[in-house]
């Protein structure tokens, strides 16, 4: 008998992005990762500005602030704030659910069943609504302040 070569069929990191026609919560997890990575990137740049630039005196600080008042940077800042709002609130939802506190009890799986995560949809919807509302508030703040 010839040696069999099983074909490796792992989706890899691409499987995080899309693995099939799954429901909302899988994409909330993906967005949580993306916002987390975005925030790490921003924090690195922000730390450089608030430490190295801040300690070198008024001229360098004001030059940095002048550069950052460019409208494109404002858009970027707003996106960072939005990312934090999403990551924080979704993280709070995940913290409660991952500790098994809000997931409910096991039920006999009588068709048509709803799994625990789908039963928590009301909580998820409320958290997403809060995220959207805060996003709109911050948008107004940015547009008004002009910063």
């Amino acid at each position: 008998m010839k040696e069999r070569n099983p074909r490796q069929n792992y989706l890899g990191a691409r499987g995080w992005l899309w693995g099939g026609n799954y429901k909302l919560e899988r994409y909330l997890y993906l967005l949580h990762r993306v916002t987390g990575l975005g925030l790490i990137l921003f924090v690195m740049i922000h730390l450089i500005v608030t430490t190295i630039f801040r300690i070198q005196g008024q001229d360098i600080w004001e030059a940095a602030m002048a550069l950052l008042s460019n409208p494109w940077f404002k858009v970027g800042e707003y996106l960072v704030v939005l990312a934090f709002v999403y990551h924080g609130l979704n993280g709070l939802r995940l913290t409660i659910q991952e500790l098994g506190l809000a997931m409910g009890k096991p039920i006999p799986p009588v068709y048509p069943w709803k799994d625990a995560l789908r039963k928590q949809r009301p909580i998820t919807t409320v958290i997403l609504a809060i995220i959207v509302i805060l996003g709109v508030i911050f948008l107004f703040s940015y547009l008004q302040g002009g910063r």
Partner: protein, 278 residues
């Protein structure tokens, strides 16, 4: 009565390890009517169109867990899935992802079974003598049974592992099936093996690589809800690490009956009475 038969195109991803060609799609036309399952379609192809098509099946009633496949990019049990429910005349059938493909639609479930074994999926108690030679049953209330009954319905089909995004990239991840079964045994009131299993699941590539995407519970064909089991297991692990909550002792054996009362007064049987015709 003539059934309303439609011609459905099955587009199947073929792979033969003995050929050196890459995987390729092959199309077949299958007649399907109300009640025809995807597995019926696969058998029709194998019997009438292409005998080389390879797939697993056994019970054809969603209890053996053999026939997991990806239909239109969503994992299903082929025997349990009606062709009609897709409302389409074209079905794309691929083997389950996140597992090595042996041939056509047959995947290698060995890794999943090894992960399952590593969480010690059996009752662990101190009284080994009683386990080896049981004298009586263990006392368990119906409420205690309901705490883990849902997770006992797992048929080890591998669909949850195929759905899990962490299993897609992390080959050493235990997988939702093994983790849910770990909780199943930890939550069983007859079991005392929590410390042993916790060292396995709280290791690297264990429980904490689950991020509650919930795809496993969504796709599970038996409603086992592995995501719920894993989050409850996380709660237990955190409670244990922080020293919160009291650990319950495994349930004892039922005490022996002290009195046996007959329900109905029944006369004693005497063979001599039977022979004499009384």
């Amino acid at each position: 009565m003539e059934k309303n038969t439609k011609q459905i195109t099955f587009r199947i991803l073929r792979y033969d390890p003995e050929e050196n060609s890459p995987p390729h799609f092959q199309e077949y036309i299958v007649p399907a009517s109300h009640g025809t399952t995807v597995l019926d379609g696969l058998f029709y192809i194998k019997e009438n169109l292409d005998g080389t098509l390879t797939f697993r099946s056994s019970c054809r009633m969603a209890i053996c867990g053999s026939c997991g496949v990806l239909v239109n990019n969503y994992p299903h049990l082929a025997c349990h899935t009606q062709i009609e429910e897709f409302h389409s005349s074209k079905l794309t059938i691929k083997p389950l992802p996140n597992m090595a493909v042996l041939k056509d639609l047959v995947v290698d479930l060995t890794l999943m079974f090894n992960n399952h074994k590593s969480v010690k999926p059996y009752i662990i108690r101190d009284d080994i003598g009683e386990l080896a030679r049981p004298t009586r049953e263990f006392a368990q209330k119906p409420q205690e049974l309901n705490e883990f009954l849902q997770f006992t319905y797992c048929i080890k089909c591998g669909i949850c592992v195929a759905a899990c995004p962490t299993s897609a990239s992390d080959k050493a991840f235990l997988g939702p099936q093994a983790l849910a079964q770990c909780y199943h045994y930890c939550a069983d009131s007859r079991d005392g093996g929590e410390p042993e299993r916790f060292t396995v699941v709280s290791a690297e590539h264990g429980l904490w690589h689950c991020h509650l995407a919930g795809a496993c519970s969504e796709a599970c064909p038996k409603g086992v809800d592995p995501a719920l089991a894993i989050q409850l297991l996380k709660g237990r692990l955190v409670a244990r690490a922080l020293g919160l909550g009291k650990r319950q002792q495994p349930s004892a054996i039922v005490p022996p009956q002290t009195e046996i009362k007959p329900k109905v007064p029944v006369p004693e049987f005497n063979i001599k009475n039977v022979k004499k015709g009384k």
